[in-house]
Amino acid sequence: MKTLHIIREKDHALAISTARDQAGPASAAGNELAVLLIHDAVLTGEDRLGGLSATVTVTIMVLKDDAAARAVESPYPSIDYDGMLKLVFDSDKVICW
């Protein structure tokens, strides 16, 4: 099962901690996790997202325009709206924080 977290605010503590907990050792093997940073969430520091790697596969991405508008050269791969739509439908569950 693949869960997508779309995060809109910088350093969104509850969203990040939820994703981190879901990525933790208690989660079922084979689960996949994706995080898409949009809006001011593209400014979220790498240190905040650091815990997001564990027993499940985690992919972190940013929405291209939203990062570029903020002069953010993100360490994460960027996708456009086509990619965002595809990601939403490729995931089994989506939470838009």
Partner: protein
């Protein structure tokens, strides 16, 4: 982009001042182009989008736009032709029958 199937439900509960509007507009346009059915529900300050031309354009392109009539009435926002004058029951159905559901609030 290749054609996709399914229905995307969107809740928009912020005023047009929020970046949510831009994202919802762009994502909806992308979805409609790809063949995805889009239905969005406006409530709280989201009902002020009845006065925003961008939402009228999305409706013209094929998105179904439903508004919480209660919230619109209490804000004295006038009814517009491009929206379905609905209730929270419509949101209850949308949450249930959409394939993916995104909340912007």
């Amino acid at each position: 982009m290749s054609q996709m199937k399914g229905k995307l439900g969107i809740l928009l509960a912020t005023s047009p001042e929020s970046e949510n509007t831009h994202t919802v507009v762009r994502l909806t346009e992308t979805a409609l182009t790809a063949g995805v059915v889009v239905e969005m529900f406006l409530m709280c300050d989201g009902v002020y989008h009845l006065q925003d031309p961008r939402l009228a354009e999305l409706a013209a392109k094929g998105a179904k736009v439903v508004v919480c009539a209660h919230n619109a009435a209490e804000r004295n926002v006038e009814r517009k032709d491009f929206v379905h004058w609905g209730s929270q029951y419509d949101l209850a159905l949308l949450v249930n029958d959409s394939d993916r559901f995104l909340s912007f609030n």
